[in-house]
């Protein structure tokens, strides 16, 4: 049997007619790191996803799972792609009873669409991933993508309480359930969250929701790095309970339109407040008392829009390089300070999570030195730095995931147990997975 055509026949058998595309126009839309898939397959049900995975495993066809395509810049340079599995056909709400404060939806549904459904009942999914609201739930889960709200509400790994996942043996398994508290069996869902589609295809998710806040405010101020970092640290250990804290270097601040203060080539601190009006009034009073700087203020939709524009700094531009460092909370200041001499680098820090994004809009020749320095510094305090996005040839020069993990044997064991044929992920995840 000729390799690829046999594989495609099997794929075709796994789905209905017109659900397998091989024409150049269709497949060229799904290029990753210069790799073009041979085919695009459009399953319409969880069972079809499972059948596709099984067919691929049996014929050794590498699969790339694709939700909204908002996270395809992530990871090591993509290897050859047999077929892209387009999850957008799975886009329904499966179960939603607002009083449970949970919702079950299919993986191909966009965050935006889900927010609309739950918003009608005064609720929200407290996630603001870098890929924005057009990202799909499955993509957000597979990348554990979180934004500024994480310090108060957690990441996808904290908000997902159950999943249905298709495996390469053709089975569809359930992990977790529909209750916030559930310790029946292992936390198997954690294997798939953040795994970049290397061990199974997330098809359905049950998520925790929260009531929409009565009021949303952002406070913005421009100041030197030292007082800005001190302010962030003070807020994190205070009982004031602010919702989010973001710190932008002058270059990053200059990229954000509509800041309610003049950045004047200073660092900018953006504090998000969500909750009851009385609480926010108190938070504002205390924050203004902590710093004599001028504070700009936005409320409601304007506040949401600004947080979104700031969050966009964590999303890569096509030709640039974007790095994310993760360090203990107290080391964020030092990391940002280190980057202050690097001309042209945009820095967005989330002190509450110990996360620092650094972006260079172009790929300057010095990119390697900056990445190495950042990585060295992060690893020195028990953290790490990963290259979130870069042109394929720059990715090859840099090690995207950093030094090899000490537990490579365990991770390979997990990969082997769930994808023995090695057909999932196309080599974008940590080496060997």
């Amino acid at each position: 049997m000729s390799g690829i055509s046999g594989s495609l026949r099997r794929l075709q058998a796994a789905v209905g007619e017109n659900q397998l595309l091989t024409d150049t126009e269709a497949v060229s839309r799904y290029r990753v790191d210069g790799q073009m898939p041979v085919a695009v397959v459009l399953p319409q049900s969880v069972e079809e996803v499972a059948a596709v995975l099984r067919a691929a495993a049996e014929s050794g066809l590498p699969l790339l799972l694709w939700g909204g395509g908002r996270h395809m810049h992530l990871g090591a340079p993509c290897g050859p792609i047999g077929a892209v599995v387009l999850m957008s056909g799975l886009n329904r709400v499966v179960a939603y009873d607002p009083n449970d404060l949970t919702v079950t939806a299919q993986a191909g549904m966009s965050l935006e669409a889900l927010q609309k459904v739950v918003g009608e009942h005064g609720q929200m999914l407290p996630l603001d991933p870098p890929g924005g609201a057009s990202a799909t739930l499955g993509g957000i889960a597979a990348t554990n993508a979180a934004g500024a709200l994480r310090m108060s509400y957690g990441a996808p790994r904290d908000l997902i309480i159950g999943m249905r996942v298709a495996l390469t043996d053709g089975s569809v398994i359930k992990t977790g359930g529909r209750t916030v508290k559930n310790v029946a069996g292992y936390e198997l869902g954690k294997l798939f969250i953040g795994s970049l589609g290397t061990v199974g295809a997330i098809c359905e998710l049950t998520l925790r929701l929260v009531p929409r806040p009565e009021q949303t405010v952002v406070l913005v101020s421009a100041m030197d790095l030292r007082p800005a970092a001190a302010m962030a640290e003070a807020l994190l250990s205070s009982r004031l309970g602010v919702t989010s804290i973001e710190l932008l270097n002058p270059a990053a601040a200059s990229r954000v339109p509509g800041l309610p203060v003049a950045a004047r080539n200073h660092y900018v601190i953006v504090i998000g407040l969500m909750g009851e009006a009385e609480g926010i009034a108190r938070q504002e009073r205390d924050i203004r008392a902590m710093s004599g700087e001028a504070w700009g203020r936005l409320e409601g939709g304007a506040a949401d829009n600004l947080r979104e524009r700031v969050g966009a700094l964590a999303y890569p531009e096509a030709e640039g390089v974007l790095v994310r460092a993760s360090v203990p909370v107290g080391d964020v200041h030092g990391l940002v300070a280190m980057l202050s001499d690097e001309e042209g680098w945009l820095v967005l820090a989330r002190p509450g999570d110990g996360v620092v994004y650094a972006a260079s809009p172009a790929s300057p020749p010095r990119v390697r030195r900056v990445v190495d320095a950042l990585r060295l510094r992060a690893e020195g305090v028990d953290g790490h730095a990963v290259v979130v996005s870069a042109p394929a040839q720059v990715k090859r020069e840099l090690s995207v995931w950093g030094r090899e993990t000490a537990n490579a044997d365990l991770m390979r064991g997990l990969k082997q147990a769930f994808d023995a044929a090695g057909v999932l992920g196309c080599g974008r995840f940590v080496p060997g997975l």
Binding site: K181, V329, W401
Partner: protein, 467 residues
Amino acid sequence: MVDKKVVGLLRKAVGRDNVLTEPAELLLYSYDSSTARGRPGAVAFPATTEEVARVVQVCAQRRLPFVPRGAGTNLSGGSVPAEGAVVVQLSRMNAILEIDARNLRAVVQPGVVNLDLQKALAPRGLQFCPDPASQKVSTIGGNVAENAGGPHCLKYGVTANHVVGLTVVLPDGSVRRFGGKSLDPPGFDLVGLFVGSEGTFGIATEVVVRLKPLPESAQIVLALFETLESAGEAVSRIIAAGMMPAAMEIMDRTTLEAVEASFPSGLPTDVEAVLLIELDGLKEVLDRQAEGCAAICRKLQARQVEIGRTAEERDKLWASRRSAFGATARVSPSMLVNDATVPRTRIPEVLRQLQEIERRHGVRIAKIFHAGDGNLHSNILFDRDDPNGLRAAEAASAEIFRVAAGVGGTITGEHGVGAEKARFMELIYSPDDIAAQRKLRQVFDPHGIANPGKVLPAEEPAAGAKR
């Protein structure tokens, strides 16, 4: 008992005086807070990660089963040894290694008692959010193994949301570090997988936890209802009103009578339900929230509604809930604890079914639940000396699991599967689901020596299992 050679090796691993082998001594480690029993072969008391590793290596070389043990407060038999297993008793590893306030992290050994950690953190204005009811005695290692919950999960999440790093001795005796003080280490989420593995993936010997500032203030609303349903309805309306209390607890009349008999607080015992709502956060917000909750309760014809604003008033209102478990145990010779959990909106119908079950099996069920997150605690009262007592209680418990599974719930919200519920896993998981969990276990413990017989059902699925 294990053979002499093994005893010698264990003594060499942890010191002569730190191994127990006398039958009378072993008996003390043959049970936990559940009804399960199993006699260990030996008990070892390591004091360091290296000593734990040496003990596990002794076991690994002989494929001898072992089970980690903290305070033994497990309610599902999870810490009860398989016959002849080596109990790795972690009570000597009870040091808080570091409180790193700047980074909002603490590093602790597994034998640290949850409440001791809280007491060390409180003067710095910090807390470790998980606070299971057993927190006076249960250890952080046990909390990690069970992915412990507590009353505050609706707002603050479970243990898995607050553990960011682990040092682990794997079942092959190797020492590993998973995660650390920073988030998102590249690769699979090994910390997330390990939490809740009930001692079957190895032994955590150091735990890095996330800390949060203590809330500035709190208020308690207590409401008495003529029916359990109206108490449940109040909970739903509070959620629908957009409030997120730190805890919402309901006690039924049976529980209330037990509490008043043992620790009188002056509450009337002729009401069917007590609802306790704890609100925390900024003081400016709490007054309106407390009034809002009280208004909802009054609208539902609550007989009495009280708001506790001072620490003293709060403690008084919480006292009955805190003593509920102990008080219930006092009025009944024996008690089987069931913590099936259901989606919150299904609570009313499950309550009706619980009454049916009580009638059908001739048992009394004292009901206390974390209503905010649907976690029911159905404490089935029975008399161990009555030969039919345990049987009836177990039959009632099995039926509660079925009811919970039938409404999309789970067989355990926070107590773990352990030995007692392994055979009920098939009520909520298909053979494929369980096969996937088994694969996961085999990666961590290929020879099945870490706490065997727990969590997953025996390989042959029971007839009539869910497909």
